[in-house]
């Protein structure tokens, strides 16, 4: 008898961002993402639940990641911030349409249909 076992492990990386994502802290995130991209990660969950503030430099890092992930047939799912004022900015820039958005990281991870 032959038993052929195929074990496919799909890697989904969740990044919980807390505090401020702005021009000062964005390079920190960029550097962490470069590290993950070098490991060929293409599926990400950006968990913004506890994000207190985000500026256009933070948005630029997120869009760069999204474009890169989709080019590699991966994706970036976003968990919306708790703070309504921060959600409002995501609506204003239509990031809530560009990214698939979720209320929890678990829902976001489950949404990756392989």
């Amino acid at each position: 008898m032959n038993i052929n076992v195929f074990d496919i492990v799909i890697r989904i990386v969740t990044l919980e961002l807390e505090g401020r994502l702005d021009a000062f802290t964005a390079p920190q995130l960029r550097s962490k993402l470069d590290e993950l991209q070098n490991q060929s990660v293409i599926r990400y969950v950006l968990d913004l639940t506890n994000l207190e503030f985000m500026d256009s430099a933070g948005m630029a890092v997120m869009v760069t990641l999204l474009k890169h992930a989709r080019q590699q047939e991966g994706d970036v799912k976003m968990v919306l911030p708790k703070l309504e004022a921060a959600r409002r900015i995501l609506r204003l820039t239509r990031f809530d349409r560009v990214f698939d958005t979720f209320e929890t990281a678990e829902e976001a991870r489950k949404s990756f249909s392989i």
């Binding site: 021009a23 630029a60 309504e84």
Partner: protein, 151 residues
């Protein structure tokens, strides 16, 4: 505290032109707005105003001063009456802003750049830039609405 500014209130701040210190703006703006009683949507207002001023300062650090050390940003926050509003003036001595280069973002297709001044426009009631000798002068204004209480 009063729900209107007793007289015109002026607060001045001088910052090193460094991304590192722009977090101070949030505390200052929250501090000013929390002294106004019964402000409508105070969290949205404080967040939006902080983001607008922050984006102007980020533009100054990155473009006007090209991230070079040793430069300064001057800010004035004025609470004005009739109607109640906040006026913020931001000045720097960096390179002149080239408004013709700045383009509005295409919101249907996410872009890496172009959201900064778009956000400033969206989050304020008026937004002006002018070159004044060696200075860049940015002015934004935002109305402050007091919620109506049931009598």
């Amino acid at each position: 505290m009063n729900n209107r500014a007793e007289s015109e209130i002026l607060i001045k701040l001088e910052l090193p032109a460094d991304y590192k210190y722009l977090n101070i703006l949030g505390s200052l703006i929250n501090g000013i707005l929390e002294r106004i009683e019964d402000l409508e949507e105070p969290e949205n207002l404080a967040y939006g105003l902080q983001l607008a001023v922050h984006e102007i300062c980020t533009n100054i650090v990155g473009h006007a001063y090209e991230e070079k050390p040793g430069y300064r940003i001057w800010l004035e926050f004025r609470l004005l009456n009739e109607p109640l509003r906040i006026l913020v003036k931001v000045s720097d001595t960096g390179k002149e802003f080239q408004s013709d280069i700045e383009t509005a973002p295409d919101l249907e297709n996410a872009q890496v750049h172009g959201y900064g001044l778009f956000l400033v426009e969206q989050l304020t009631d008026s937004f002006e830039y002018r070159r004044d000798g060696l200075y860049n002068r940015w002015t934004i204004e935002k109305a402050l609405t007091i919620s109506k209480k049931d009598i």
